[in-house]
Amino acid sequence: MDRFLETFFNATVMARYLPDILHGVGVTVLLAVAIILAGVAAGLVLACLRTARLRWLNFLIICYADVGRALPPLVVILLFYFGLPNIGITLSGPMVLFVVLSATLAAFAEEIFWAGFTSLPRGQWEAGRATGLGSLQVLVWIALPQAVRLAVPPLVNRALAITKMTALGSVIGVSEILSAATTAQSFSGSASPLTLGALAYLAIFVPFVIFARWLESRFAWKKA
């Protein structure tokens, strides 16, 4: 037991590397916020464009959403990080991470918002138009508020899953929590920095998970 504590909860080692991990927390939180804002906004715009029902545009949006949902983000991250410099486009590690993860979130968000739009009865669109509102007005004032409400629980879960992937940044040298923790682990020869890193992730994401759980129960209750 002592040996276990010494290995995984060594206080001196933890204290020494705490500043590094905290710096990593800053990077992770910043990236997560940027990814959520950009991804959800882009997904919402795509879903709204899809309501215009232009055949060629919808085809492109559906392809994008499918590819974004089918490809593992790490594959795209490696492709961008190692492939693009060969054709003269060099993006920094954090930039690649931001672009790839927000694009992935956008693909999922588009599908979630679109599912919200399609769950509204057609009659609402027609009734809105019949009272003299323009298509855009029906979209903004009638469809959107209802679709967004339906989208919130799945969107929170998806955003949580994707922001957790900021840990993939450690593979391409982004100085977020995991990479700070593994660096500290190899310098100190102790597993304690890994524990500290895991605790940092839990501190960020557990409130998020509990919030998602609360939202879900509220949502389920309303449906009954």
Partner: protein, 221 residues
């Protein structure tokens, strides 16, 4: 444009990397099989725990579920792979991947099952019990078949996530699809092998992704 094609769609490089990638794909399939099976079983018991009327069973199950939902899978994998040896437990990359993703996915599958079981009205439990079925029979014959059918889209979409998740195994140098592709990239100085891996993932997962969307639309109608 030529440069782009040469760097990302170099057929020559792709052809040379293909056998290597197919080997990786076989490893990916093995990881998927292990993680999906273990996750489905683990998730089922976790869901039963989360729904148990006994508090000493319910709270630990909920805490475990939330713990593994909050921890990024890669962090868990690194912890198992490079943390456990410090405690004197050596694990092979394959075992590390399976353990880490099993823990991670049991929570996700568990949440899906829980939603499914909760969608079955309470009266069915009571009716089944009053006809003389035991608790286990009630779950096995009455509740589970209906619950699984209700959450089939979510089970499917989580399974897609498992397949995508296996790409993280490349980080602990387990020779699965992405690892093989990345090795081929570093040997050829060309991104085409990763492009090929991406195409393989697309071919495998696109039909499933389409199916999930179809399900969602069906639900709305």
């Amino acid at each position: 444009m030529d440069l782009f094609l040469d760097q990302f769609f170099n057929l020559d490089v792709m052809a040379r990397a293909l056998p290597f990638l197919l080997q990786g794909l076989w490893m990916t399939a093995k990881i998927c099989a292990a993680v999906i099976l273990l996750g489905l079983v683990g998730g089922f018991f976790l869901a039963l725990g989360c729904l148990s009327p006994r508090r000493w069973l319910r709270w630990p199950a909920v805490v475990v579920t939330d713990f593994f939902r909050a921890l990024p899978p890669l962090v868990l994998l690194i912890f198992v792979y490079s943390g456990l040896p410090f405690a004197g437990i050596q694990v092979s990359p394959f075992a590390a991947v399976v353990i880490a993703f099993f823990l991670n996915n049991s929570s996700y599958y568990g949440e899906v099952y829980r939603a499914g079981i909760e969608s079955i009205p309470r009266g069915q439990w009571e009716a089944a019990r009053s006809t003389g079925l035991t608790q286990a029979q009630t779950i096995g014959y009455v509740i589970l078949p209906q619950a699984v059918r209700n959450v089939l889209p979510d089970l499917l979409s989580n399974t897609i996530e498992v397949v995508k998740l296996t790409s993280l195994a490349s980080v602990v140098s387990l020779g699965e699809l992405l690892y093989s592709a990345n090795m081929a990239r570093s040997l050829t100085y060309n991104a085409s092998p990763i492009m090929l891996a991406a195409l393989i993932y697309l071919v495998l997962l696109w039909p499933l992704v389409r199916l999930v969307s179809r399900f969602q639309r069906g639900l709305a109608a």
